[in-house]
Amino acid sequence: MRNSKENGVDRRKFFKVAALGGLGISFAPSFMGKSIAQEVKDGKEPAKPKTNVEDALKHPRTATSMPGKYPAKVVRVNHQNAVVDNKPGKKAAAEMLEKAMLSLTGAATLKEAWLQFVKPGEKIGLKVNPVAGKSLTTSHAVTQSIIAQLEDAGIPRKDIVIWDRREFQLHETGYTKENYPGIKITGTERKDEEGSYYNKEGDLYSLEMIDKDWYYWADVDGEYDEYTLPYMVNEGKYSYFSKICTQEVDKIINVPILKNAGASITLCMKNLGYGAITNTSRLHKQLWGDTSAEVCAFPPLRDKVVLNIVDGLKGCFNGGPGANPQYIINYNTLLAGTDPVAVDRVGYDIVIKKRIEKGVQEKDSPRGRKFMEMAANLKLGEHRLEKIDLKEINLG
């Protein structure tokens, strides 16, 4: 590789020369090539693609359907020393979780609290979030605390499953059988030990993991090249649910991280909505909020997610759902509730306040809360802050 000047292409000079065209304001030529005419009609938002959310609503609700046992109730536990040496602390996490469970349920003992949601003999799935990599995965401090308390409540390790879309991301972030002996670590998208996504027959391993009886249909086509397909599993207008949530587990405990997504958040519903189905990239542009809300309205999630525990020991206020270190912050907090919309609404306020405080955003925008309104319309929970019963506990 040679310096650009040696190649005879002095880009600085090139830009300067390009600017000498009598232009009022001159940008580099590439600016002009990319900036094409806007196609805005009457300033109105284009009509949204149709989805099959109506199919979800046809299924009768059950005793465990969202918003669950404690609608519109959220417990927030803060701990000054939740993060030590830049790592979430196990002792603090366990204490925060205990206080949250007792406060949420009003139970006399921790065991009784957990047994309000799960019982021995059930397979319990912990839906974690390893998307941002090692720096900002669902912390092991919180996950291990949940497991320890489940065990104390009589749930054996063999009946606990840690899962997410991408099995290999779980491994990369320390969710391994070595770190979690006796607990199954699994994902919808997977590869073999040689790193191949395909079996001997040339089919994606992930295809074995999807349940074609359950799908989210949206009138947006997903088309992928050969490199992208293993991460999306299938093309077309169907997003299939993972067998992990439709067949493998009986109950789901949702454990997202306190993160922003632009001027909104990626917490309970986003972790579930985008974490449980295939073929998602087609949905981001026009149906970001709709997917977060509507996928949660389907029984495999609506009726199985019994608890949401937001790991806010560390989190981020910008750059999410990735993990840019300059935006990672110790929120030193943990949220718990059965109502994913209410928990998201409380988490939303925490993140947006931090964004405003840090100067990345001037004020709250209703657009960021839209998906929670949609979820409330689907009767998945409470989105109005004034209607939410928020209990706050300070420790440490």
């Binding site: 590789m1 880009r11 600017a19 304001i25 990319k34 900036s35 998307v131 090692k134 990735g322 925008s365």
Partner: protein, 290 residues
């Protein structure tokens, strides 16, 4: 003789093009160079396969015009480092993604015009590349290693940074331009300059360069929106008029030859007169109050 000259010229041009194409390949580290460097991962993602690496985070990069990237996880003298080297469509895209990712930089990296050092990260944009090196310890040693890796990877692009030609002169300084953000869509706006997001609702495929000026007496945001056509300008202006709210700021605009200039001032007009004169002189257009 004439044909020989033409052939020579053609060959020279082809050679130059070939060199430029070769140059745009993703730089890599030679693992054999140092014994104390252990590379644990070295993968390349291109186009939409970025979804495989950063899932939902890919949207922002795709909006800016993502080409391909190299991910390297390595250990160097007990320091864990993560290198993300993005090759974007061009220098503007690379600067754009850099401009929305940097935040409260402690300092710049020596020799890199568009760079940002924070405790745990080194970022820089040069040519069509955006480089991020994240360390786990936040130590001086880790940053030193990061800088050495950046020089190793991007050394040949050291002098290849984007400049902003034709922009207003004094009282604008290099410092102002080094704070510039380039926005190319909704996600960039949400991540980089959210305060203007509401005004740009419904607009697509634009390139906005925005310079936030926050000085003691002069506080304003200056935007250059390129190649706006049709009724998009009218919609934008209508949005600004309708959504400014409590009017804590005053808006001005000018339709220059190739750009719409937007100025949102939070200071009184008297305090920013020098800046306005410079903008009008460079654009040969007069700013009008909205």
């Amino acid at each position: 003789m004439r044909y020989t000259f033409a052939l020579f010229t053609l060959l020279f041009l082809l050679l130059t093009v070939a060199q430029v194409i070769a140059q745009t390949d993703l730089p890599d580290l030679d693992a054999k160079e140092k014994k104390d460097v252990k590379i644990e991962r070295n993968e390349v993602y291109s186009g939409n396969s970025l979804w495989g690496y950063i899932n939902g985070g890919a949207d922002l990069y795709l909006e800016y015009g993502f080409d391909k990237m190299r991910v390297i996880d390595l250990t160097i003298e007990d320091e864990n480092l993560k290198i993300d080297l993005y090759k974007m469509e061009d220098a503007v895209s690379a600067y754009g993604i850099f401009s929305v990712n940097r935040f409260r930089c402690n300092e710049k990296a020596k020799g890199w015009m568009h760079s940002c050092i924070t405790g745990y990260q080194l970022q820089l944009a040069t040519g069509p590349f955006y480089l991020s090196i994240i360390n786990q310890s936040g130590s001086e040693k880790a940053m030193k290693a990061s800088l050495a890796l950046a020089n190793k990877l991007m050394g040949n692009w050291r002098d290849d940074y984007l400049q902003f030609p034709g922009m207003p002169g004094k009282p604008f300084t290099k410092m102002h331009y080094s704070n510039a953000k380039i926005i190319q869509g909704r996600l960039g706006m949400d991540n980089g300059f959210q305060m203007w997001a509401t005004y740009f609702e419904g607009l697509e495929n634009y390139t906005l360069m925005v310079i936030p000026v926050k000085e003691e007496e002069a506080r304003f945001n200056l935007g250059f929106l390129t190649e706006v056509k049709g009724d998009a300008v009218d919609i934008l202006i209508k949005n600004i008029k309708e959504k400014t709210g409590s009017a804590t700021s005053q808006w001005y605009f000018a339709k220059a030859d190739k750009a719409l200039i937007l100025l949102e001032s939070k200071s009184s007009i008297k305090k920013i007169t020098g800046y306005i004169k410079a903008i009008e002189a460079a654009s040969e257009a007069e700013l009008q109050e909205l």
